[in-house]
């Protein structure tokens, strides 16, 4: 099962690069949604025998990350009737290079961290780190609010990937809390985006520079 899990993690990492390279918002949102679904499947591979809680987590993840949030984002996009270009402040090629470099660095860094025998050889840690880096690149390198939200989501996904290492050990409360917080957080982000659109009739955060020294 470890190999298939690694396959999925690799897929998620690939989706990271895709997100970095996608030049249009719908594509970006789609990539994020796909990644959410991929992440949601993973718990089943980790848990050999079926467990309700794990199933619940997985389902929640798939629904939340895969469908609800992307839907919200699309809605915000439509409501703001914004053009679909991503408008990077760090170009696509540099972002891709950064992402790729980040991925390699993540793999290298992950070697330095000791793993439990059952996690040995799993790609979860490098995957998590790579996603977090990708998230940062998107947050820093994209000027539109929605693309930043996507970056934030990928960041969260990375952390979620890492959380999978603990899914068996840590009590459910943490997981549930996390899931809830993520959804709520992004939900509020969506609302904010909505409000910003009303206030500024654009989602370009470069315009949000009134407050300064």
């Amino acid at each position: 099962m470890n190999s298939s899990l690694n396959l999925l993690v690799g897929l998620a990492m690939g989706l990271n690069l895709l997100a970095l390279g996608s030049s249009r918002l719908p594509a970006l949102i789609g990539t994020v949604a796909a990644q959410g679904v991929v992440l949601g499947v993973m718990p089943f591979l980790i848990e050999t025998h079926f467990e309700w809680l794990v199933a619940l987590v997985a389902a929640g993840t798939i629904i939340g990350k895969g469908f609800v949030i992307p839907a919200l984002l699309r809605r915000a996009m439509r409501a703001a009737s914004i053009e679909r270009e991503v408008e990077p402040s760090i170009g696509f090629v540099p972002s891709l290079l950064l992402g790729a470099g980040g991925t390699i660095a993540a793999v290298a860094l992950a070697r330095a961290l000791p793993l439990l025998p059952e996690h040995a050889g799993s790609l979860l840690v490098p995957g998590a780190l790579a996603s977090v880096l990708t998230g940062f690149v998107l947050l820093i390198g994209r000027s539109k609010a929605i693309s930043q939200v996507c970056g934030y989501l990928i960041l969260e996904n990375g952390i979620y990937l890492f959380g999978l290492l603990l899914i068996r050990a840590t009590p459910l409360l943490v997981e549930a809390g996390i899931l809830l917080d993520l959804t709520v957080g992004v939900f509020v982000l969506g609302i904010i985006v909505d409000r910003i659109q009303r206030a500024f009739d654009s989602l370009d955060t470069r315009k949000l520079t009134v407050l300064r020294e």
Partner: protein
Amino acid sequence: MTCGPLLLVAALAFAAGIVLGPARPRTWLALTLAGAAAALLAAGLILGGGGEWDWRGGLPLGGERPHLRLDGLSALFVTLLAVVSAAGAVYSREYWSDQHHPDSAPRGRRWWSALTLSMGAVLLSSNGLHFLIAWELFTVSAFFLITLDREHVETRKAGWLYLAASHAGTLCLFAFFASLAARTGSWELGPMRGHAGFAPLFWLALAGFGVKAGLFPLHVWLPSAHANAPSHVSAMLSGVALKLGVYGLVRFSGWLPVPPSAGWVVIGLGATGALFGIAFALAQNDLKRLLAYCSVENIGVILIGLGAALLARNADDAVGAAWGRLALAGALLHVWNHGLFKSLLFLGAGSVLHATGTRELSRLGGLWRAMPWTAGLFALGTLAVAGLPPLNGFVSEWLVYLGLFDAVTSHAAAAWAAAPAAIALATAGALALASFTKAGAMVFLGAPRTQAAEHAHECGPWMRAPMLALAAACATLGLAPLLVWPAIARAAGVWQPAWGLAAAPSPLSSLGLAPVVLAALAAAAVAGLWRCAHARGLRRGPTWDCGYAGPTARMQYTGGSFGATAAGWFAWLLRPERRAHRLRGFFPAEASLAERVPETVLERAIAPAGDAILRLSTAVRRLQHGRLQAYIAYLAVGLAALGALVLLGGNS
């Protein structure tokens, strides 16, 4: 003994003054006088009867049980505080009266009481924490007194400069007391000469107290603050507030061990301060600024004495003890003397300001006719500050001289510091004579230079009485220094136990009646010459001036040209700025010459540094430009930096 109740009465009186002051001027004045009298009595008991009063409170304040101690040294300063505070309070009744300053006069009374109370607390408290509290309260209340009149931008600027400089000093004291407490394990203060390890702390104390004392390179706040404050406040600041800085230095150099080089540094600072301070004074055109710079000089004199005493203490032999004691006694006596005559001079300047509305020498002149009392008393203060016999300034400077000379004649290593210090002291004395001849003459002699000066009026009894009292004190200390010797000796004994016991030094006792005789002879001669002149027939006529027909007031010698000669020798330090508009052509239009002596240290050294820091701040503030992406980038950078620090920092 009965010190406790007296001090309690004083404290209660001033505390009540804080509460009642704004509403009830008369009650406030009575309270202040009563409190001052009680404090004076308590200090007198200590100085006269010896011993010390030591009291530990029950309930803790700020986590520490109060510990008050009134010994000879603090009593010396308490005396000065009480006298000047009372004098200023009486003076302010007319000078800063309610009808002229309806809103600020009540505030002024409140802060005056607060200032006196906190200063007293500084002098008494023997616990580092409480010392700091009292110190900061004293600083802040002095700030509010300086800026009583918040209308003028000048005053506000001066106030802020004072506050900023004092805070820098206070933070040095934070470090001083905190590291002292860290070493002793408690905030308690007291004699701890044994621990040689504490010596380096002296430098912190020197910086912290030096700012407040107006030590030469740290004096930058002093001139503007003293010049722009109300005059009774200037008197308090210059007469007492500076002395608290001195108190700190004397107190802690007495309680703690000092590094071997301390004496050399202090005496060097004192000598340069005395010389440069008075050089600045000579160049001033603002009467109160002149007085303020003169305070820098006198602090220098005091520090020369203290430095010599420190050198003697380190030399640690019988000979050294002898001259060290003389120098220390001179310094301590000069604390009193400067407090008295400088307050007198500031009050005099105040009544000039009150009468004419200006402090500029070039707008005054001929005031003696309108205000004879002020003129006479100011002249007396002038004699005293110039250190001329038979007044008090001479006695203390003379003691310091004796200490320095003995150090030189005893061929001690300290001679290498003492001889230059003596020369500097003499030069400063001559410069002081020049500056105050200038000050007195430009203000009171000759013809009035402006309408304002012409229509001046004498100050009323409320302003005259305190000046008279202070003048009387100056004269007494000058004529009969032996009276106060025991007090001085006791204070010196607190600083260095071995030095206190001895009787009055032979010179002082043998000086004995000389001042009195001199004063008597001078009086007799004046009277004789006066009567003789009248007997021969005394005619009034215009100033002959080599027969010049139409002299006008504007033809008189000005303060600027008066200072020019000697101040010119210090041009490298004073950097006077002159804007001359010379006469040109056959039918010249009007010409003008404007001269200004900047506060060199402030404008040439500190201001540029401040600008550099402000530029840095502007550069840093540009980073807060409002772009969210960059903010998240900062976050990532912080993450990376901390990661590097933690993961690569290794385990130390």
